[in-house]
Amino acid sequence: MAELTLQKRAPEAEALRALSERLGDPDWLRRLRRQAFEALDGLPFPQPRSRRLDLDWRAFEVLLPEEAPRMEGRRARLQLRNGVPVAEGGAELPEGVVVLDLETALERMPDLLERYLHQAVRFDTDQMTALNAAFRMGGVIIYVPEGVEVSEPIVLQQELTESGVAFFPYTLLIAAPGSRLTVIDELGGPTLDRPALTSGVVELYAESGSVVQYVAVQRWGSHVVDFTTRALHARRDAAVRWVNVSLGARLSRAVIRAHLLEPGVAADLLGLYIVDGDRYIEHDTLQDHIAPHTTSDLLYKGVLRDSALSVYSGLIRVHHGAQRSNAYQANRNLLLSRQARADSIPMLEIEANDVRCTHGASLGPVDEEHLFYLMARGLSRSEAEHLIVLGFLQEVLERIPVERVREEILEDLEAILFPAG
């Protein structure tokens, strides 16, 4: 594999033009980038709720490719480094299924992209989504045609190996009616010396009757300040399992929105986060029941140690007319030190009268009686704590579809929570 050269530029209009030029953007995309860029100053900065951040996006450079190689898009694994596709591999995909970097996809399926791009996550949501829309390079599209079932999990690896830059991962998933697929979206990279900013966008379109499993695993280095906005548009009878795993970054603020647009949608919304040191994690979730007979079941679980801080804020919104909907929400936190903190802010906006909604939040240390019970059987305090922590997360872990992914998450979890062992 040839090493690709990248240029770094200040995030100015000139860089934007150069980016469009080198990537060969169609006119509508050039317009979109420019619109987003011009909107930047008028848009709000998505300030984390409990940790004030003085961040100027202009302080980071953006990446420009010298030349991006072209991918075939027929394989179940696609790897991008710093926004440039570098490898594809894995199983051959069924006819019509596409797993491609955006640039190649723009040449091959421009109409499809124009139809879906930034529909679920508007570019002008805030400064971070606008930056993504303006300076995005690379990004991935997954398209599964009507009725097609992809049995092999599709694996995306979006890596960042540069520091001092702003980086914009992007994933667009389109599951056409009646299709089935599982996607593992891995975002990560080594810890570097200078800070970096990531602003990611994920758009999931689960069309009628599709069955979609989407797992995002965030493992940014601890020099990264991470913003991400992810949205689901689910249509009639779609069944979605959506897992957000957050393991890295110095500060991470994730907005997760599930819009249940038509009757019969069932969305299983899971989250798992492990935070150590003085790192900060924030999840802002929306369960948006627009149509009747829709179900969302949300469970976010986290383990925090040292002086880590988690903020979970979750809104269940049931629109007028979304009768017979069920919405469940739970946020559970295990605190392994006295200094660790977890705030939960559940919110309900219910405009329909025939619905079932529950929400709950909990936080606390490892139960001393549980510890004593396990120690009374010969397990050391740390072994006992270990088992209890894994047990606590099991409820989410066991719903992550791919064995390898579960195992790697367990390894990360060990490294973060039990570094000495």
Binding site: F372, A376, R377, S380, A384, L387, G391, F392, Q394
Partner: protein
């Protein structure tokens, strides 16, 4: 010195002295029953022997295998061969029975200088022991005690005891909440383990369990002290007459 020797043990809970100088000696191969009315300190003794942090040791010693185990952490006591069957076993979400038991057994084996069991080998042993205690094999993959009935939890305690092969076992009110069938299964389990390599201290409020697990010695704990010791006939006498006569007798001796 006896295999387990409790000397003048004093234990307080939130500043109140519950055990006021307990002396007791149990040898391997012996079954001792500790009886007493509610609030006499029976469970306090069980927890203090195992090292529960809530129970404050204010005096005395407990010698086991050449060490004063009051200086050891609960896990060190367990690995040394002390076992407590809990009156109220904890429910631990997400921790499967088989995973937990293998970790516990291997911790004990390593302390004994033995090779730890691999998952397959351990699975076979676990299956066999579960069958003997009439525990459905599916329990191996369930979360520890979560949603188990009272009887299932107690059987699970005995299963743990049979796997850990302790040298000294304390059974804290193992009969409470058991119907007669479950009681018989649990008692059979205990009896099959009793032998020259294990001593047992059975803590119970009622004589009922002692019909199935026959003690060599019976002790009565009252107000934090062992006030009488005897043979199995003492348990029968308590069953027939209750505890009040003993209390009355003690008080008359004290004033005499």
């Amino acid at each position: 010195m006896a295999d387990l020797e409790i000397r003048d043990l004093r234990v307080a809970v939130e500043g109140n002295e519950i055990l006021k100088g307990v002396n007791l000696a149990v040898n391997k191969g012996e079954i001792h029953a500790l009886m007493g009315p509610n609030g006499s300190g029976k469970s306090t003794l069980a927890y203090a022997l195992m090292g529960h942090p809530f129970y404050e040791i204010t005096g005395g010693e407990v010698w086991f295998k050449g060490q004063n185990i009051l200086e050891l952490e609960p896990d060190e006591r367990a690995r040394l061969g002390l076992f407590l069957a809990f009156q109220y076993p904890q429910e631990i979400p997400g921790v499967t029975v088989s995973k937990f038991l293998r970790a516990a057994v291997n911790a004990r084996r390593q302390a004994m200088g033995l090779e730890p069991y691999g998952p397959y080998e351990f699975g076979l042993i676990l299956n066999e022991k579960m069958e003997r205690l009439r525990i459905d094999p599916s329990f191996a993959f369930r979360a520890l005690n979560e949603g188990f009935s009272g009887g299932e939890k107690k059987r699970m305690e005995i299963l743990q005891m049979s796997l850990l092969e302790p040298e000294m076992a304390v059974l804290d009110e193992t009969d409470s909440g058991l119907d007669i069938d479950a009681l018989r299964i649990v008692a059979d389990g205990v009896n099959s383990l009793v032998g020259p390599n294990m001593g047992v201290l059975v803590i119970t409020h009622y004589q009922r369990l002692l019909n199935y697990i026959q003690p060599h010695f019976v002790h009565v704990l009252m107000d934090g002290r062992i006030v009488r010791s005897g043979g199995p006939e003492l348990a029968l006498e308590l069953e027939a007459r209750g505890y009040d006569w003993l209390r009355a007798e003690l008080e008359s001796t004290a004033t005499a």
